[in-house]
């Protein structure tokens, strides 16, 4: 089995997780910028974090033979402080040419506040201005449906957005159709309690097809599983999906989306059963 982990917050994980992921068949890992579990107090704190994502963490992953890529942004959980948010957004362009940076993400909404919407719109404009791909975080639990609708509405009315270069992550049964019908890619996040279980994820794959879907573990400092994607592949096997179909979903699909950025380089050979 081979797979690409398109969404994992590896700065929060121990080196044993890298070893386990590579052993399970991981061929590349992508790390969107996110919230540290507490609010950073200054733009300098974000500058250091962006350096960590684009310099230190790729070196740590390389010790396990794993290519590491990053997405940069201000996470929506830190968007309420507009003055600090604007300072942080001004830092991002200087990092965009770094060799492992794939685009702007994970931007989006958390509690669907006016300030979150304002900063989301600014980061979408930043991505368009710099011709960057976009990775979008949708809110948690009771806030997801409303937030997903707000996000899709903003993206579809923003000039210059190509839906084929935008993935809207953390979809569930009540939001997946909204995202796919608008032409975007959709990410299914596999979590032990919230978001989606392997069985539900494969339900959605069977109902909506695999044309613009990927799976990710989004492992971070909270209750999460860095091996959730290969474990979901086992779930697909139990349901009778072929090895080729599994490979298309967990390797081919992230490769098709991420490969739109020429910086993303992994083995492109087709699976042969």
């Amino acid at each position: 089995m081979r797979y690409i982990e398109p969404h994992a917050h590896m700065v929060s994980r121990v080196t044993d997780d890298y070893a386990a992921m590579v052993t399970a068949g991981c061929r590349a890992v992508c790390e969107p910028a996110f919230w540290a579990g507490f609010d950073r107090g200054s733009a300098e704190g974000f500058h250091d974090y962006f350096c960590q994502l684009t310099d230190h963490e790729p070196k740590r992953a390389a010790r396990y033979g794993l290519p590491h890529y990053a997405w940069l942004c201000l996470n929506p959980k830190e968007a309420e402080n507009l003055a600090l948010a604007k300072e942080v957004l001004a830092l991002i362009p200087e990092f965009l040419d770094r060799p492992n940076v794939l685009g702007i993400g994970e931007i989006g909404l958390n509690k669907n506040s006016r300030n979150e919407v304002a900063i989301f719109e600014r980061q979408v404009e930043l991505a368009v201005r710099h011709n960057q791909m976009i990775l979008v975080h949708t809110p948690h639990l009771e806030d997801k449906w409303k937030g997903t609708n707000l996000i899709v509405d903003i993206l579809t009315r923003t000039p210059g957005i190509n839906p084929a270069r935008v993935i809207i992550d953390h979809v569930e049964e009540h939001t997946v159709a909204t995202v796919l019908d608008a032409g975007f890619w959709a990410g299914i996040t596999l979590y032990p309690l919230s978001k989606c279980s392997p069985a539900r994820a494969i339900d959605m794959v069977e109902i909506y097809g695999t044309q613009r879907l990927w799976l990710n573990c989004a492992c971070d400092w909270g209750h999460s599983d860095p091996l959730a994607v290969p474990k979901t592949a086992l779930e697909m096997r139990k349901r009778g999906h072929s090895e080729a179909a599994i490979d298309r979903l967990i390797y081919g699909n992230p490769l098709r989306f991420l490969g739109q950025n020429p910086k993303f380089q992994v083995e492109k050979t087709a699976f042969e059963s």
């Binding site: 309420e80 509690k111 506040s113 006016r114 979150e116 009771e142 997801k144």
Partner: protein, 87 residues
């Protein structure tokens, strides 16, 4: 996969979760105090399970969601609790 296959694969897990849910409600009802919006939402969602219609997961997720269209004035607490406080 046919219905027999799906049942073979998932029945034991679904049974376990169903009994966990029943035991949770027993635990709640042995305790004192009124239901808050989370428990009211959960009890409403249980009715969906008994309906002979498709898309039960989607309907329950919507029942537990904030249905309002406009952004809120301030984010306040960063975390979500799993049910809409206006239910």
């Amino acid at each position: 996969m046919n219905r027999q296959g799906i049942t073979d694969l998932y029945f034991a897990e679904a049974r376990s979760r169903l009994i966990d849910l029943a035991a949770f409600l027993d635990r709640v009802e042995r305790s004192e105090g009124p239901d808050d919006f989370r428990l009211k939402s959960l009890r409403a969602a249980l009715h969906e399970l008994a309906e002979p219609s498709p898309d039960k997961a989607k309907k329950i997720l919507l029942l537990l969601s904030d249905p309002t269209p406009e952004p809120v004035a301030q984010a306040g607490d960063k975390s979500a609790c799993g049910a809409w406080s206006g239910f």
